[in-house]
């Protein structure tokens, strides 16, 4: 065995090439594109710019490390059963890209086609689900209203008793629903981008954005000033504060969202289950842990602290759905920071500052959009034209009172 190690150490392949830009790489004086934020979205934009548009003089900056912000803090759910045509078209495309993402990146992102079941506990929810199912089917998405018998076949352990506070009366079954490993998504995009010449500078914080004559010209960082042809911010959880460096006000309020996982169990639940009324959702990961998430906190905060109230509310709701989890121990808990918009839809595209692009307002729905958002934003940056698929999500919509209302279909928020 030790000989094997020595042999490996002496081989040319060792040390292996860095997957990402090495830590001591100097910043260049100028980049064509500077991307602020090296999460899933930032690295996805960089990857698409390099691979499909030949734009490789790109720097991705992150004040922390790759995928270490809210990319690491979401609960990795992918679905497209929204209510408006604009959202369905957008998220449907993202889901299609996720299906082939491991092949595309040459990196296993562990996409699992679980299906998603949203539960109805009252007539209003059934009406809403029927509406969503019709819209979804019309746009080619697998989404249907299901009765209790089907629910039992989908999730045998789900408590369908009437002896609870809010009995389940039906559900919306979305066979296309899935999960993927969130870290791997950021790593895969980052690796692919770096292989094509993009530089990812970690521990490099954007501290000020220089704007002259209404146009972005440079970014000041803790490691010096870099000039840029254009810049894009992809900083979920800090969208307002980063945009404010360029004097841009956004229609965003920032809330924590708390989640937790239980100790591991034998596989018993495959689909993702969500209850908008109980403000809880769960699925069992391939490690056996139940990931439990819910609505955002009741008031804004830039902090990932835990509160007993929120944990209590998650626990009481999940025990109503899966009584056997009453014995479960909580293995770990955390919070993500969500940039909530008034219409529960993202803000993508142009900003009031020329050559400064926005990828913001991702609230509780950012992870599922990572591939399509990167693809569309890269197209916008490379060609200067706003792709049709993201046009409805421009910042300008708020000035025209043309919101894309997804409050009802965003199950896991207040």
């Amino acid at each position: 065995m030790p000989f094997g190690l020595v042999k490996f150490g002496l081989r040319k392949a060792y040390p292996a090439r860095h997957q990402f830009t090495p830590a001591n790489t100097k910043l260049k004086k100028r980049y064509d594109v500077v991307i602020i934020g090296a999460g899933g979205h930032g690295t996805s934009i960089a990857y698409n710019l390099a691979k499909y548009h030949g734009v490789t003089n790109v720097a991705v900056l992150d004040k922390g490390y790759i995928g270490g912000g809210n990319t690491a803090r979401n609960t990795a759910v992918i679905r497209s059963n929204y209510l408006t045509e604009e959202s369905v078209a957008f998220y449907r495309e993202s889901l299609n890209l996720y299906r082939n993402l491991s092949n595309e990146l040459g990196f296993n992102v562990m996409t699992e086609n679980r299906g998603q079941l949203t539960l109805a506990h009252n007539d209003a929810a059934i009406r809403n689900f029927r509406w969503r199912a019709e819209v979804n089917q019309h746009l080619g998405i697998r989404s249907e209203l299901v009765d209790l018998q089907t629910i039992q076949e989908i999730a045998a352990d789900l408590n369908l008793s009437e002896e609870v506070r809010y009995p389940i009366i039906g559900g919306l079954w979305h066979a296309d629903g899935a999960t993927a490993r969130h870290d791997a998504v950021a790593w895969g995009f980052a690796k692919g981008a770096c292989e094509r010449g993009v530089e990812i500078h970690q521990l490099t914080e954007a501290q000020d954005i220089e704007v002259r004559d209404g146009k972005v010209i440079a970014i000041r960082t803790n490691r010096g000033r870099i000039e840029c042809g254009c810049a894009v911010q992809a900083v979920a959880g800090s969208s307002s504060t980063v945009a404010m460096q360029a004097n841009i006000r956004l229609p965003i309020h920032t809330f924590p969202l708390q989640a937790m996982v239980t100790q591991p169990y034998k596989p018993s639940l495959f689909p993702h289950i969500s209850s908008p009324q109980l403000h809880v959702y769960t699925h069992q990961t391939s490690r056996g842990e139940f990931v439990i998430g819910g609505g955002s906190d009741p008031y804004p905060l830039y902090n990932t602290r835990a509160t007993l109230e929120q944990k209590e509310s998650l626990a009481s709701a999940i025990v109503e759905l899966f009584p056997h989890l009453a014995q479960a121990k909580v293995l770990r808990q955390w919070a993500g920071i969500t940039d909530m918009t008034p219409d529960y839809s993202p803000i993508m595209g142009l900003s009031p500052v020329r050559n400064y692009f926005l990828d913001a307002g991702w609230g509780t729905w950012g992870f599922k959009a990572t591939p399509i958002c990167g693809k569309s934003m890269a197209e916008l940056i490379a060609t200067g034209h706003v792709p049709e698929i993201i046009r409805p999500f421009e910042l300008e919509r708020f000035y025209r009172f043309r919101q894309v209302n997804e409050a009802g279909a965003t199950a896991a928020s207040h």
Partner: protein, 97 residues
């Protein structure tokens, strides 16, 4: 349990309150253009730091103001709206506020 000091009811569990948004000046709805109105309705500074905001004690429907640090969640002080407003602000006297 986190406490919020209601100017009317004293210290109560923060779960008894509703958050009512940042304090900002309403433009005169009869005079301002639609962009200005959109800014007022949708846009906020959303600052990370000490922010003055509206809160309501649900059971008594009492609205008041609080200065709260949105990074540490520390409430600096709470005070009745009468400290800042001497009369009702609506479309008729919006400019005076």
């Amino acid at each position: 349990m986190k406490l919020l000091n209601c100017p009317l009811n004293g210290p109560r569990n923060i779960a008894e309150f509703s958050y009512g948004g940042e304090l900002h000046t309403m433009p005169n709805p009869t005079m301002c253009d639609s962009r200005e109105w959109a800014e007022y309705v949708f846009f906020d500074r959303n600052e990370a730091g000490v922010v003055t905001e509206w809160w309501m004690h649900n059971a008594s429907a009492y609205w008041f103001l609080a200065e709260r640090n949105t990074i540490t969640d520390e409430v600096v002080r709470t005070f009745p709206a009468s400290e800042m407003f001497t009369e009702r602000v609506d479309s008729i006297n919006a400019d005076k506020a």
